[in-house]
């Protein structure tokens, strides 16, 4: 077990190192920089040189790379290029909790809606409920998050103005962003649970449970579910990554001051340190989530450990 976790930890660290290296060199391969003459027409050449020196942009790239690493090891993502008085750390720690809250609720909602939906479809195979679920899942999986978002926004803020279309002020304003984020995951989870449930219900242990007189409720919830839920736990890793991507859109559309919105903002500002800082933060976050899911799987399902040797 310890060996397995160590191995995963090492792979995660390697991933982060690769991401940081790729991100750093891509950012520095970018044509022009925020302090080139083209970008800042009002400043004199002398002032620009001073600014470059302040941010260490006058040093060779390799030296900058090492300096950046030195900062990272102190959990310092550097100052913003556009707003000199704010650091990337401040933005991350100020706005990440908002995103985490919306994302966390979205994870809960997708599990709480997706799992029962999938079970209902599997138990009513071939009937109306199943048909409804499969249509919903097909639509939900292919529809891009921004399409869902603008349609829901138009429907509930335009045609029927019942929900607020910006900010996060009361419980009502959570409904739309969370639904937009959870839409694709619900569809995916429902489809996954449906197929793994259908498979589980045909297994010998389900027949044994029925034969010994276990009520249908417990057969489904205890015996079949325990195995059918496994693929969903594996999906939690990609789910977090998907919510991250979705948050760029949803936070921008609903004017939520989460970290996804600041990421998009810093992209259009070409604010290198912010882009790098948030990218690396996202990378670390996803790697940690995947690690947790992997360990969780190994704890729950002994077969995982065996296959990993």
């Amino acid at each position: 077990m310890a060996k397995y976790i160590l191995k995963r930890l090492f792979a995660g660290l390697l991933t982060i190192v690769v991401l940081i290296t790729i991100a750093f060199f891509l950012m520095h391969a970018m044509p022009g920089n925020p302090f080139s003459q083209g970008e800042q027409k009002k400043l004199t050449a002398e002032a620009l040189e001073k600014l470059k020196a302040k941010y260490g942009l006058d040093k060779p790239v390799w030296e900058q790379y090492l300096i950046y690493w030195e900062g990272l090891l102190r959990f310092d993502f550097g100052n913003s290029f556009k707003k000199p008085d704010t650091t990337a750390n401040e933005i991350i720690f100020e706005h990440f909790p908002t995103s985490a809250k919306v994302g966390g609720i979205a994870v809960l909602v997708s599990l709480l809606v997706g799992v029962p939906l999938g079970i209902a479809a599997a138990l009513n195979r071939g009937r109306g409920m199943d048909w409804f679920c499969m249509v919903f899942a097909t639509v939900g999986i292919s529809a891009p998050v921004f399409v869902i978002s603008v349609l829901l926004m138009y429907l509930f803020c335009g045609v029927f103005p019942v929900l607020p279309n910006f900010g996060l002020n009361d419980w009502k304003s959570y409904i739309l962003p969370v639904s937009c984020l959870a839409f694709n995951p619900i569809a995916y989870i429902a489809r996954q649970i449906r197929s793994s449930m259908l498979e589980a219900m045909e297994q010998d242990y389900v027949r044994t449970a029925r034969a010994k007189g276990v009520s249908e409720f417990w057969v489904v919830t205890k015996h079949a579910m325990k195995n059918a839920i496994m693929p969903v736990i594996t999906y939690l890793g990609p789910l977090v990554a998907g919510l991250l991507t979705g948050s760029f859109i949803v936070e921008r559309l609903f004017s939520i001051s989460g970290i996804g919105r600041y990421f998009v903002q810093s992209i259009s500002d070409r604010d290198y340190t912010m882009i790098m800082g948030i990218t690396i933060f996202f990378g670390v976050f996803v790697v940690i989530c995947n690690l947790v899911v992997d360990v969780l799987m190994a704890v729950i399902d002994p077969r995982v450990k065996l296959s990993e040797k």
Partner: protein
């Protein structure tokens, strides 16, 4: 002996026997007396259909999937329309009709106009050109990269395989959107950059499929025979392994197309994809963001175009999967 005729053993009919022996005796015989006799089987064994090929069978199965055919039809119509509509339309993607700004859909402007009076229908058709071409080109490039990467990894095996697969593991463990956004920033906003950005990680799925197929197929006897007769790695891959693994490869490539279309629309929606005055569907949706509640049609039409196209490509992918690999069908 001709194919039509052959010997069959038939019991002697009761009527013929009962004339000579008693019914009890016949019962005792219990049908044990047989008389070889020539019977004409007629056309029962004649092969009347031409033998079918694998791809013909695949098409037969694909044809029976109504959603897949619908998807194919929609894509066909859209492809033809996006080539010819801009050629024959009086409007262009950047031409402004200042008399009709923010006009609701009419016969003159089928999908209305945007805040600069540009015809939305024509802009959506230009968007279709961008989306479909990006989808196809990106899928084709990723197909080549994935097949080569997975093929070499699977066939060579050993240390090479381990190194190649570790690289894939590292790339896949982060959301590809992070890399995509970084690459877009470096290369600037254009169709070309979108395709390059898509080629950074999209091939991984195909590579994995190819690798596992090749690992399975490489122990086949025809591969051994090819190796013994001195075929090179490249020849074995291209003439033996990849054609035999084509089914799963096509399925995984088919799903790359909607994925590429989604990524392009996503990037353009964030404002780092295709730039004005050129319009992709994502750009159109992004432009309509501020006027969503006042001029909803400016948002609804492009968004519907994205949805319909992605559904169609996904349906085609599902149909291909069922047709190429019936074992997967649940």
């Amino acid at each position: 002996m001709s194919r039509k005729n052959r010997f069959v053993f038939e019991p002697i009919p009761e009527a013929a026997l009962s004339r000579s022996i008693s019914p009890e005796a016949y019962q005792a015989l219990d049908g044990a007396l047989f008389d070889p006799r020539l019977v004409d089987l007629g056309d029962a064994e004649k092969v009347i259909r031409p033998s079918t090929t694998y791809w013909h069978e695949v098409w037969q199965r694909f044809r029976r999937d109504p959603l897949a055919i619908l998807g194919l039809a929609v894509i066909a119509v859209m492809s033809v329309a996006c080539i010819f509509v801009p050629m024959f339309s009086p409007y262009t993607y950047s031409g402004m009709d200042l008399a009709h700004m923010n006009a609701f859909p009419t016969w003159q402007h089928l999908c209305g106009t945007d805040q600069m009076g540009r015809d939305l229908f024509v802009r959506i058709m230009y968007g279709a050109r961008i989306s479909i071409s990006i989808g196809l080109i990106a899928a084709a490039i990723n197909f080549v990269i994935g097949v080569l990467y997975g093929g070499i990894s699977g066939y060579v095996g050993g240390k090479t395989d381990m190194v190649l697969m570790r690289i894939v593991d590292i790339l896949i463990s982060l959301p590809s959107m992070l890399y995509t956004v970084l690459i877009m920033l470096v290369l600037g906003s254009s169709e070309f950059s979108v395709i390059v950005a898509l080629c950074f990680t999209s091939w991984i799925g195909t590579a994995r499929v190819v690798r596992s197929e090749v690992m399975y197929l490489k122990h086949a006897e025809y591969v051994l025979a090819a190796r013994l007769s001195g075929a090179k790695l490249w020849d074995i891959l291209v003439t033996h392994l990849i054609p035999n693994a084509m089914g799963p490869i096509i399925v995984s490539t088919a799903f790359l197309i909607p994925n590429a279309i989604f990524t392009e629309a996503f990037l353009s929606f964030l404002g780092i994809g295709i730039q004005a005055p050129m319009a992709s569907w994502g750009t159109l949706a992004n432009d309509a963001r501020s006027t969503l509640l006042t001029y909803p049609y400016q948002m609804i039409f492009p968004v519907m175009a994205i949805c319909v196209t992605m559904f169609s490509f996904n349906f085609i992918g599902d149909g291909l999967r069922d047709a190429l690999d019936p074992r997967l069908k649940k």
